[in-house]
Amino acid sequence: MKSDIELVDENGKRLDGRTFDQLRDIKIEAGVLHRADGSCYLEWGGNKVVAAVYGPREAVPRHTQNPLRAIVNARYNMAAFSVDDRKRPGPDRRSREISKVISEALERVVLIDLFPRAAIDVNIEILDAEAGTRCAGLTAAGVALADAGIPMKDIPVSCAAGKIGAEVTDGMVNGGHVVLDLGKEEDNFGDADLPIAISPRTNEIILLQMDGHLTQDEFNKAMDLAIKGCHDVSKLQKDALINKYAADIEEVE
């Protein structure tokens, strides 16, 4: 799993010129779609994501209804043209899994007890993919939920940390740097990836996955870094929501 690519140069800069604790460029826009109850367009590095929220509305088919609470149906879907080799349209095992973990993460923040038997549908479309689509998708979903006026405890936000540039000899992993927000090559040739999502007011962790190799120290470091990243992204989410109403706010003032 080791490539010839040097992921870190002699100045401690990454392939795309970022420092270890630097995010890629992120652009968020709330309320971009006309039909949806709430929506969000998000660019995160080379990722382009649209999220749309419909609901709360009656859950169909009926057997999915829960008489005590609403269900959150996130549907993560990649466009056929979003990746290097065309992806066959429709859900595969990977997108089903991502849809499930995102749904569960969102159910933690949405006040689901308010809407028995209802469904809140969150559609996440990945139009262009370049490492970290689940983080970008969940972050966009958070903004779209807020834009739809869905009652929530908090606006969920997601970000990843990871490890790159370790030496691998005879299966032993040595060294390496813990970095924030893996880019494309870092995701492919890096040593570990740790995407998390949090509820930023309480730092509750609502999604966590990890693959690769991390020591306990490295894990703690990566976790702290990812949480810090989440908080930075969270500010951008709130700015996007405020910006949607900026003109109106100005008028009132």
Partner: protein
């Protein structure tokens, strides 16, 4: 698909407006909504376009792959078109495999491009009977406010015009043979400046997907004896008949398709064709301006 709800009140309202020669969004009968065409919006795609017609929004992306030709056309490339009415775009769209209306949409767009030979498929042959390029046209409906036929075909065409043959994904020797083959067919490379991750300038040769001039389609709807161009969602829901006309730059009609259970008079159809030429020309100019060719 769930039956669209068209309450009688809405229908009466639009009918009444039509009697006064008016439409709900203030347009004249022969007035198209503002159209925005952006190309190169998806980095991973060979070519891409986002088209907005009013509130309707469509993204089309092109991917290309090397594959085997069909036995009956051993020396010609292959194109396939797929459209997805993703649940993002409307509360009435459901997830899952494409249903009737998505298939109809994809087939109408596919026919428009295929029958006009808009892609020069004969130039996409690498070795007759063995290796050819497959062009995948994927259309995503992002926001649905009527007139998907026009939006989807315009997006597909803009994305095709934006497409460069992905020679960089091939191995060195394959690259050379593909280049030779393209030059043989008279496809000229263009020099482009690209920026790598670190922001350094690099010169690269790329080949645009070989294209012929395509016809542009334009859709009309009829209700209460009024014929309107570019129907909005509300108008589509109450429409009695629909007609799509595709015209080329020389003023010839290249394809027509009528839909729904209403009817048109011959005079109405003549007027529609006249209007579609005007609108078609405006859209064609916009399409040409939006591409970097």
């Amino acid at each position: 698909m769930i039956m669209p709800i068209a309450p009688t009140i809405k229908k009466n309202y639009l009918h009444k407006l039509a009697e006064q020669q008016k439409r709900a969004d203030g347009r004249r009968f022969e007035e198209y909504r503002p159209v925005i065409i952006e190309t190169g919006v998806i980095n991973k795609a060979e070519g891409s376009a986002r088209v907005k017609i009013g509130n309707t929004q469509v993204v089309a992306g092109i991917k290309m792959d090397i594959g085997e030709p069909y036995p009956d056309t051993p020396d010609s490339g292959v194109m396939t078109t797929a459209a997805e009415l993703i649940p993002l775009a409307s509360p009435d769209f459901e997830a899952g495999p494409p249903r009737g209306d998505a298939i109809e949409l994809a087939r109408v767009v596919d026919r428009g491009i295929r029958e006009s030979n808009a892609i020069e498929l004969e130039k996409l042959c690498l070795s007759p009977g063995e290796k050819i390029w497959i062009v995948f046209i994927d259309i995503h409906i992002i926001d649905y406010d009527g007139n998907l036929f026009d939006a989807a075909s315009l997006a597909a065409l803009a994305a095709l015009y934006d497409s460069r043959i992905p020679i960089n994904r091939l191995s060195e020797e394959d690259q050379q043979s593909v280049k030779n083959k393209l030059e043989e067919f008279g496809v000229k490379p263009i020099e482009e400046t690209v920026y790598d991750k670190a922001g350094n300038e690099q010169k690269t040769l790329s080949y645009f997907l070989p294209m012929r001039e395509p016809p542009i389609s334009c859709t009309f709807a009829k209700f209460n004896n009024a014929v309107v161009v570019d129907p909005s969602l509300d108008e589509e829901e109450i429409a009695e008949a629909r007609l799509t006309v595709a015209t080329d730059s020389k003023g010839a009609i290249r394809a027509m398709q009528k839909g729904l259970n209403g009817s048109f008079t011959a005079d109405e159809i003549k007027k529609i064709i006249k209007d579609s030429l005007v609108t078609g020309n405006a859209l064609r100019t916009q399409l040409n301006e939006s591409t970097s060719r």
